[in-house]
């Protein structure tokens, strides 16, 4: 009976030593793991904004990392999901440096057409990021965080000024409508802004457009001028503003006057 008991004792001791040594070395190898997040790159094309985040994982530890999963989710203030993205790497081998891009895609047309708010108002978007990895291919670890990301409105503080009148000829007048806004967004606003003028009954009085090219984080002041019949000049009514700019197509925005 003594021999089997001794055998069990030796086996148990060896198993303990193996388990503790494995756990301790797996933890120890974590100190040689480097994780760097680079400067995000932004680009806009075909109505979509792409955010590329360069990520570098330098695994100088003794064990492979497996099931590396980076997932991000961007939500607006109401909790609606604007973008979700996930990057998965099956294995990061020991001694290997792995660089990859984590891509986030925002459909600007969807975002801006569904939410006029984001065109004209700055906001905070809620970003939830989580990184999961299996250390030594056996110990799953997950780190998650959330933070707010400022959204800059492309037409922040957009306003039409008081129209001024210039005599064009005996029957027509030239109406000049000043407009201005601040482009707080991370992209340039290029295209046309069209303004239509209606009287109080909804009859179209005249229309005009202006071309804008406003770099990110800059102001714009300009005007739209158009010729209308002098006798049709209403004392009150409303303007309809249409934005046909890259990457945003939006309208009409109704601005009363008078």
């Amino acid at each position: 009976m003594n021999l089997p008991i001794r055998a069990i004792g030796i086996a148990t001791t060896l198993l303990w030593v193996f388990l503790i040594a494995f756990f301790a070395s797996a933890v120890y190898s974590l100190k040689d793991l480097r994780f760097d997040i680079g400067e995000p790159h932004l680009s806009v094309s075909d109505g979509e904004a792409f955010v590329y985040i360069p990520i570098c994982v330098d695994n100088k530890g003794s064990y492979n990392l497996s099931a590396f999963n980076l997932s991000t989710s961007v939500k607006d203030a109401n909790g609606s999901t604007l973008s979700e993205s996930s990057t998965f790497l099956p294995v990061i081998k020991s001694g290997e440096k792995t660089e990859f891009l984590h891509n986030l895609t925002f459909n600007l047309e969807d975002l801006l057409s569904n939410g006029e708010y984001y065109l004209f108002n700055d906001a905070d978007l809620l970003v939830t990021a989580s990184i999961g990895v299996k250390i030594a291919e056996a110990i799953p670890v997950r780190a998650s965080t959330n933070f707010s990301l400022p959204w800059g409105a492309p037409f922040y503080n957009f306003e039409l000024g008081e129209p001024s009148i210039e005599n064009f000829n005996l029957t027509h007048i030239n109406l000049i409508v000043p407009l201005g806004f601040e482009n707080h967004s991370f992209f340039d606003v290029q295209g046309e802004i069209k303004v239509r003028m209606y009287d109080v009954s909804g009859a179209l009085i005249g229309e005009g457009e202006t071309t804008v090219n406003v770099p990110q984080h800059s102001f714009y002041t300009g005007h739209v001028s158009f010729c209308i019949e002098a006798e049709k000049m209403p004392s009150n009514g409303f303007f309809e503003v249409y934005f046909t700019t890259a990457p945003i197509i939006y309208g009409p925005m109704v601005v009363p006057y008078g």
């Binding site: 009976m1 003594n2 089997p4 008991i5 069990i8 004792g9 086996a11 148990t12 198993l15 303990w16 388990l19 503790i20 756990f23 301790a24 070395s25 933890v27 120890y28 974590l30 100190k31 056996a138 110990i139 799953p140 670890v141 997950r142 780190a143 998650s144 965080t145 959330n146 933070f147």
Partner: protein, 152 residues
């Protein structure tokens, strides 16, 4: 004559106790060295988990105490009680201190979740083997005692 026999019995008993104490001291010392080496490897965790060092220290203090007491009462039935207690303590302490295998830590707004269920399962299984060994040892001890009783 009886006095002489009693004196030599005392000397034998004292030698036995001294040997046990020496063995207990050596075991405790080796365990302390093992703890020291183990701690060198897992020290990075303590930077992230403030209570980690306390948890490991408590574990080693109680474990080493049980080892020393078990060694001092060796060759008695109490040794098997302490061995079983040691095995149960390892299982219980790991389950409680590892929170069932899922550990959550929060640093400012980062939440870190470590899933040690695999490690815990392996440790509990090894602990159960150790407990089974203690039970078998206790049965064997009682069996030997009974055999000696019958022979006498």
């Amino acid at each position: 004559m009886a006095k002489e026999m009693g004196g030599s019995r005392n000397i034998v008993f004292a030698k036995k106790i001294a040997l046990r104490a020496l063995k207990a001291f050596l075991k405790g010392f080796l365990l302390y060295i093992a703890y020291f080496v183990f701690w060198m490897f897992i020290a990075p965790i303590a930077e992230f988990v403030p209570s980690f060092q306390q948890v490991v220290e408590n574990f080693f203090i109680i474990y080493v105490s049980l080892v020393i007491i078990g060694e001092l009462v060796s060759d008695t039935v109490l040794q098997h009680f302490f061995n079983a207690a040691k095995a149960l303590f390892v299982i219980g302490y790991l389950i409680i201190s590892l929170n069932g295998g899922i550990l959550n830590f929060a640093y400012s707004n980062v939440v870190l979740t470590v899933d040690l269920r695999f490690f815990l399962m392996a440790a509990v299984l090894i602990g159960l083997i150790g407990l089974a060994k203690c039970v078998i040892q206790a049965i064997e001890y009682m069996n030997n005692k009974a055999e000696i009783g019958f022979k006498a």
